[in-house]
């Protein structure tokens, strides 16, 4: 039996052999007397048939063994498949972890960079405080304690300040180009730190100011604002609230 032939091929060829031998035997039996094989040949053929049958039986035995091995292989394959899935899952998780760690390392490196930058050029705290003073002097972050209605100083840019800014200038640009020339003088007006409280500059533009409620108020001297809209209920609410806040702030200062 050739070892490189599959057991199935061996079995099939055995069946073919047996078919041939059986045919030969039967033909011999029906054949005419003078054509018949000698009895010794006949006996040999019969023995061959029996031998083939035995071989078939033993090969079938082998096949049953192989079936068992096949079962083992199937279970092994299943196991391998499971391990494969485990490995893939693990690899996915590792990949995720790697990504998270890479981001963390990137951020940490950035922080280290900024730390070293800060170490290279340390800023003294006094300078920081001075800078803070300079920022808050123009009421950019907080309204002054003594703020009252009509006071144009606000912790956000007022209408005139917006117009003086780049955005305001952008819309002015196509209309009148000579405005640019007059700009250098205007920033002086932004420095209103020296203005005494309750005495707004008498400028035409400052008479109108936007309140958070979205209504136009006209400031009259220093005596408060007059609502120009006719939404009575709302304006009253706003008035009450603003007076409340001003009274509470005055009580705080005392």
């Amino acid at each position: 039996m050739a070892s490189n032939r599959s057991t199935r091929e061996v079995l099939l060829s055995l069946v073919d052999d047996m078919e041939l031998i059986a045919k030969e035997l039967i033909e011999n039996t029906i054949a005419q007397k003078h054509l018949k094989l000698s009895s010794s040949e006949h006996a040999q053929l019969t023995e061959l048939l029996v031998a083939k049958d035995n071989e078939l039986k033993s090969t079938l035995q082998l096949a049953s063994e192989q079936a068992k091995i096949n079962q083992k292989m199937d279970s092994l394959k299943e196991e391998v498949e499971r391990q494969d899935q485990d490995i893939q899952q693990l690899q996915r998780q590792l990949k995720e972890a790697e990504q998270i760690l890479a981001t963390a390392i990137y951020q940490a490196k950035q922080k280290l960079q900024s730390i070293s930058r800060a170490n290279k050029r340390p800023v003294p705290s006094e300078e920081l405080i001075k800078f803070a003073h300079r920022i808050s002097a123009s009421n950019a972050v907080c309204a002054p304690l003594t703020w009252q209605q009509g006071d144009p100083r606000r912790p956000y840019p007022t209408d005139i300040e917006m117009r003086l800014g780049v955005l305001g200038r952008l819309s002015d640009l196509p209309l009148n180009g000579q405005m640019i020339g007059s700009h250098p003088g205007i920033p002086a007006e932004l420095h209103r730190a020296g203005h005494p409280a309750g005495e707004p500059p008498v400028s035409q533009a400052n008479q109108f100011a936007w309140h958070p409620s979205g209504e136009i108020h006209m400031s009259v001297g220093g005596q408060g604002s007059v609502a120009m809209n006719t939404h009575k209920q709302e304006t009253e609410d706003v008035e009450v609230m603003s007076t409340d806040s001003s009274s509470s702030s005055s009580s705080d200062s005392q």
Binding site: A2, S3, N4, R5, S6, T7, R8, V10, L11, L12, V15, M18, E19, A22, L25, I26, T29, I30, L49, V50, D53, L56, L60, Q61, L62, A63, S64, E65, Q66, A67, K68, I69, N70, Q71, K72, M73, L76, K77, E79, V80, Q83, D84, D86, I87, L90, Q91, L94, A97
Partner: protein, 117 residues
């Protein structure tokens, strides 16, 4: 052909077709045929009947051989010779072992040192 059809119908229902399910006894049929041929009755009617019987048996033998072939084709796990099969089994075992080792490696390599505070 009867048997072939029967087995073909049976096969899908069963998960595995084993050697024990095989039905390929050929020798008794050959013996039967030879015996019936060698029987030499004198009666003519009996002779005709016998020859008809014999040809029927020869057909049976042919069917049996065909069914044996188709049954052998259904047997599981004989695509390879035993040596090859054992080799493949060994390969699978080795694969499994490698994969298990890889998994273990993956599981054990990720032990992070807890930073000392």
């Amino acid at each position: 052909m009867m048997e072939v059809v029967e087995i073909a119908e049976e096969a899908p229902a069963r998960s595995q077709f084993t050697v024990d399910d095989l039905d390929i006894e050929i020798l008794p049929l050959v013996y039967e045929i030879i015996r019936s041929v060698e029987k030499d009755p004198h009666d003519n009617t009996q002779k005709a009947k016998d020859s008809q019987d014999t040809s029927h048996k020869i057909l049976d033998l042919q069917k049996k051989l065909d069914s044996a072939r188709s049954q052998i084709k259904k047997l599981p796990g004989i695509e390879y010779s035993k040596e090859e099969q054992l080799q493949k089994l060994e390969t699978l075992r080795r694969q499994l072992k490698l994969k298990r080792e890889l998994l273990l490696k993956y599981r054990n390599m990720c032990t992070f040192d807890v930073p000392k505070v």
